[in-house]
Structure formats: structure tokens, C-alpha cells
């Protein structure tokens, strides 16, 4: 059994490197969602690089597409494409652009415009029901994203069709580009909201592997309802001076910050391995 926490710091190092090199990216959300992606791609989802067209594969949609550095880093590490490709991130003519691009191996759908992923996931889940296939559909959203009205169209349809093969996750880091989510547009209480739309709702620590483990295991057992996992996370989790800081939504580290951050990520990786 891999040490996923240690793996997550390796992924965060990749993210940090990508952003520093490209001078672009969304580090805050990358770091908050990182453990959710690692838990899914290394443990809970049935998806393999050599079976990306298998009808049985689990489907994944990163609806908060701006966390693409985390997504690409995980896909590269899992062997969907060579890690060297990450060097081209955001470079001229690269397919590794600043939001998920389905020309990249392993990416199901283009995303980036918020509020699309859940309804697309509903379509995939309905298809699974039609074809009596046992796959699950996973959709990861941001909490700022929940202000998009189209999210609730998808929420309604998923509840109506009782899509128990649909598991959604909110990266509830409570920060968005202009401030806290509660300042910008009240998002509490998510539990009540999703429950009222007919969902099974779980709240968990989204930066803790045992907690995520427990949540995904429970979600897979739920029958007759879609499941929403509200993953409470820390934006920027992994580097102390990035954590919980609004300005790190998409700030690019300078040389000094870069080295300092890299050092801390390596320390944490080592500590996780001990």
C-alpha cells in the first residue's frame, strides 16, 4: 500500500515546479484539491492508463478546471503521459494548457468554465444506468463554483434520476479570488442544500487520507441517491506561507519563495514517509 500522503507532497512539488516554470497557474486550489485527486486516482477509481477507452472505466471530471496543474501532475505520475510533457505546460502550442483539455490522455472532457461538470457527469451516469455498466462517475467542484446556477440544474437532475453511480466532491476551501466564499456569496450550509436536492451528503476532512478513504467507501455503497462529499480543505495546503492566503489563489512564486516552498514540500514528504 502506497503512502498516499507522501505521494501528495511529491505531486505538490510537481505542481509548484509547473507554476514556477510557466509563471502561471492556480496554486491555492491545486494544493487544496490535491489529496482528493490522489485518493481517487491511486486508490478509489477504476481507471488505468492502458484502458482509457474501456466502457467499464470510472469517469472523472475536474469541474474546477483551474486546478489543472494538480490534475496533470497526477495523470503524469499515474502514467497517462510522460512526466517530461509537464515541462511544456502553458507553453506555445502545448496541449497542456491552463485548463483540462481532452487532447491530453486521460482527460474525459474539456472544462474551465465553471458549473458545467456536474451536468456532464449526470449524462455519463445516466448512460451507465442505460447500459447497465458498473462504473461510477466522479465530479470534483470548487466551492466558489457553486454560485453558478447551472450547478443546481445538474443537482436537480441527479436527485431526480436517483443516480447512485454519481459521486461529487466539493473542494470546500472557503476561499475564492475576491475573498472568503461567505463574503463573496454565502455557501453555507452545503449539507442542507444538497440534501434538499435528494443527495446523500457526507462531510469529511479533504486533506486527510483516512477521512477521504472512509467517505469514498461509504459513497460507493449508497443506493438510490447520488452522493455529495463536502471535503473541507485548506487552500494552499502543503506550504505554510501559501496556506489560507487569498492572494495565493493564482499567485506565482518568486525565486526565493519557490526554493523555500520546495524545501518545505520535501520536508513534509519525508516526514510523511517516516
Amino acid at each position: 500500500m502506497q503512502n498516499l500522503r507522501a505521494k501528495s507532497f511529491e505531486i505538490r512539488k510537481s505542481i509548484w515546479n509547473m507554476i514556477y516554470k510557466a509563471k502561471a497557474g492556480h496554486v491555492g486550489g491545486d494544493f487544496s484539491v490535491c489529496d482528493i485527486l490522489v485518493s481517487l486516482y491511486y486508490k478509489h477509481m477504476n481507471i488505468e492508463p492502458d484502458e482509457i477507452d474501456s466502457p467499464l472505466r470510472d469517469r472523472f471530471i475536474l469541474s474546477k478546471g483551474h486546478s489543472v496543474e494538480a490534475y496533470y501532475s497526477v495523470l503524469a505520475d499515474r502514467g497517462f503521459f510522460p512526466k517530461e510533457d509537464l515541462e511544456t505546460f502553458s507553453q506555445f502550442k502545448s496541449k497542456y494548457i491552463g485548463h483540462p483539455n481532452n487532447k491530453v490522455n486521460g482527460v474525459e472532457m474539456n472544462s474551465g468554465s465553471l458549473g458545467h461538470g456536474l451536468s456532464v457527469g449526470v449524462g455519463m451516469a445516466i448512460a451507465g444506468k442505460m447500459d447497465h455498466l458498473p462504473y461510477n462517475v466522479y465530479v470534483v467542484m470548487g466551492d466558489g463554483e457553486l454560485a453558478e446556477g447551472s450547478v443546481w440544474e445538474g443537482a436537480m437532475a441527479a436527485g431526480h434520476y436517483k443516480l447512485d453511480n454519481l459521486i461529487a466532491v466539493i473542494d470546500r476551501n472557503r476561499l475564492q479570488i475576491s475573498g472568503t466564499t461567505e463574503e463573496v456569496m454565502t455557501q453555507d450550509s452545503q449539507e442542507e442544500r444538497w440534501r434538499s436536492f435528494g443527495w446523500h451528503v457526507l462531510t469529511t476532512d479533504g486533506n486527510n487520507y483516512d477521512a477521504l478513504d472512509h467517505a469514498f467507501k461509504e459513497a460507493k455503497k449508497v443506493k438510490g441517491k447520488p452522493t455529495m462529499i463536502i471535503a473541507e480543505t485548506t487552500k494552499g495546503y502543503g506550504i505554510s506561507f501559501v496556506e489560507g492566503k487569498r492572494e495565493w489563489h493564482h499567485k506565482v512564486p518568486n525565486a526565493e519563495e519557490y526554493l523555500k516552498g520546495l524545501e518545505e514540500l520535501e520536508e513534509r514528504r519525508r516526514a510523511a514517509n517516516e
Partner: protein, 313 residues
């Protein structure tokens, strides 16, 4: 007198397809009645998905189904599908390249007196501007059938707009000319060309018959394929007839007239006159009353043709 609207023909073709292919899926947004798809929903309930009055998720759910191998037809009033759902059409269908055929029903000013909320006079402009989105406005029921049969066999995105009311036949069922993405020549002539799409093809045909009596030979081109636009047929018409009129049930901005003018100006500049709805909320009325008011009829075409011909003398 034909009493079968194009939307009903679409339902017939989809019923035929669904009978032999369980992956043919139809989605509606509380629009099965207005789309004439009630029969489909009743005949193949397991191949029909109702999403409620939610046009954005209509398109996204369609894209998700298509990504899982379904051949999806999403039918909703053209006004909502083309503007409210434009972003979903752009991102989830065109950009992600999913096999979704967007059926815009009651297009143009079909919903005459219901006002600008229910008119889709911008659908060509909005959707044709999206890369990887094809745009079709078939004229009569026979052409609609051919079009749906053929594009139903490919796996690429497309938007198809049809009107609410029956349209008089332009073609004979037995001898309809149809080649996908090639405009159809309705009548041939060398004095002037009328390029039309959708419901405007029939009055163009009528105008050509009337003008023929006056010794003017009009070429009528049915440009049902707005995108990809059949540029060759336009350039040929410019060279051979020297005068072009376009007519469309659409805003004067970004539709057939704009596209034809662009091609003509670039390749073979001749006089082009665009007939379209005005750039304003159109007057209330049944669609024919509205067409007549704005001269989007055979009479308007004949007058415009005479102006163009006399202009050159």
C-alpha cells in the same frame, strides 16, 4: 398543401433510427410537445431523457451521454438553445467534440406574437461562430428528412434549426437533390441569384417563378448548410449572375447575408442585397404577417430583384 412541419419529420426519422439503434437518445427540456417528440418519448421511454426547464443542463447532460457512446439529439426551442445554452454548446459539445445534435425548434420568429424572448434571430450568428459547430437550416420536410438521416450517421456536433409551422414543399419527394454540405439549386438562371435558407427558400422559389414570367431567369440557391458554407456555389453565382440577393429569417448581423457578402467581397465582388429581420425587437404577429411586414416574402424579393436589375442598366 403540406401540413407536416419539419419538426414532425425529425421525430419520424428519430423513431426509425431508435428502432434499430438503442444508442439513439433524445433529450427534451419540457419541450417534447413543441418538438413533436411526444411519440418518441412514449415509444422509446428508455431512450428518452427529460431534463425539465433547464436548457443549460440539457446540453451538458447530452454531452455526458455522448461521451459514453450515445448518439444524442437534444431538442429545445431554438431561442433558448442558441443563447441561454450557448456556453454549454461551445464548451461541452463543440470544444469537447461530443456527438450531440442540437435541434432548435420553433426557430426564427415562429413564436410570432410571443416576443423577443421567444425569437431566435441570433442563432446562426452565435452558433456558427463556434469552432467545430455545424449549422443547418433545412427548407422543407423532404430536405429535413435527408439532412437528419445523414448527419445522424456521423459523430460530430451540429445545430439544426427548424420552424414551428408546416412549410410548403420546395422539392419533390422522389427527386430531391441532396448532398451533405453542398447547397441545393432550386431553380437555375443567369440573370440574378437568390440565396436563401430555412423557411425563406419557398418564397424565393415563388419569386423566381414569377420573375421568369417577366423574362428574368433567377437562380435560387438553398443554402441549408450555413456552416460549413458552400462557398463554391456562391462564387460561381457571383461570376455567372453578377447580382445576388440573400434572404433569411435572422438578424441582419452575422447570418446568411453576412456570410455570403464576406465570400463575395473576398472572391468576386458583385452587388449583394441582404434581406433579413431588422436589428430590433420585431413587431407582433403571426410569422407570415411579420414576414410580410418586413418584405421577407416573394413580393419583397421581386421588388428587390427589379431594383438590382434596373440599378445595373
Amino acid at each position: 398543401m403540406n401540413n407536416i412541419p419539419n419538426r414532425q419529420v425529425i421525430c419520424e426519422v428519430l423513431l426509425e433510427k431508435a428502432a434499430i439503434d438503442k444508442d439513439v437518445i433524445v433529450l427534451c427540456s419540457d419541450s417534447r410537445g413543441s418538438a413533436s417528440l411526444e411519440k418518441f418519448a412514449n415509444t422509446y421511454p428508455s431512450q428518452f431523457v427529460e431534463v425539465g426547464i433547464a436548457e443549460q443542463s440539457l446540453v451538458s447532460i447530452s454531452a455526458g451521454l455522448a461521451r459514453c457512446g450515445k448518439k444524442v439529439f437534444a431538442a429545445s426551442p431554438a431561442c433558448f438553445l442558441s443563447t441561454r445554452s450557448m456556453e454549454q454548446c461551445k464548451v461541452d459539445v463543440a470544444y469537447s467534440n461530443t456527438n450531440v445534435k442540437l435541434i432548435g425548434i420553433s426557430g426564427g420568429i415562429s413564436y410570432g406574437a410571443l416576443g423577443m424572448t421567444h425569437h431566435s434571430a441570433q442563432d446562426i450568428a452565435t452558433l456558427a461562430a463556434i469552432p467545430n459547430m455545424r449549422v443547418y437550416l433545412p427548407s422543407d420536410r423532404h430536405q429535413t428528412r435527408k439532412l437528419i438521416e445523414q448527419i445522424g450517421q456521423d459523430e460530430k456536433p451540429a445545430y439544426i434549426r427548424v420552424g414551428r409551422n408546416p412549410v410548403e414543399d420546395v422539392y419533390d419527394e422522389s427527386s430531391i437533390p441532396f448532398e451533405l454540405d453542398k447547397a441545393s439549386i432550386v431553380t437555375d438562371g443567369d440573370d440574378l441569384t437568390i440565396i436563401a435558407c430555412g423557411e425563406m427558400v419557398k418564397p424565393s422559389q415563388d419569386a423566381a417563378l414569377e420573375l421568369k414570367k417577366q423574362g428574368i431567369n433567377v437562380r435560387v440557391i438553398d443554402m441549408y448548410c450555413l456552416k460549413p458554407l458552400d462557398k463554391e456555389v456562391i462564387i460561381k453565382a457571383a461570376k455567372e449572375t453578377k447580382r445576388i440577393i440573400t434572404i433569411e429569417e435572422h438578424s441582419p448581423i452575422g447570418g446568411l447575408g453576412t456570410m455570403v457578402s464576406q465570400v463575395v467581397a473576398e472572391h468576386y465582388p458583385v452587388k449583394v442585397k441582404n434581406l433579413a429581420l431588422p436589428d430590433e425587437a420585431v413587431v407582433a404577429g403571426k410569422s407570415q404577417e411579420v414576414f410580410d411586414y418586413y418584405r421577407l416574402n416573394a413580393k419583397g424579393l421581386i421588388e428587390t430583384a427589379m431594383e438590382l436589375i434596373n440599378d445595373g442598366k
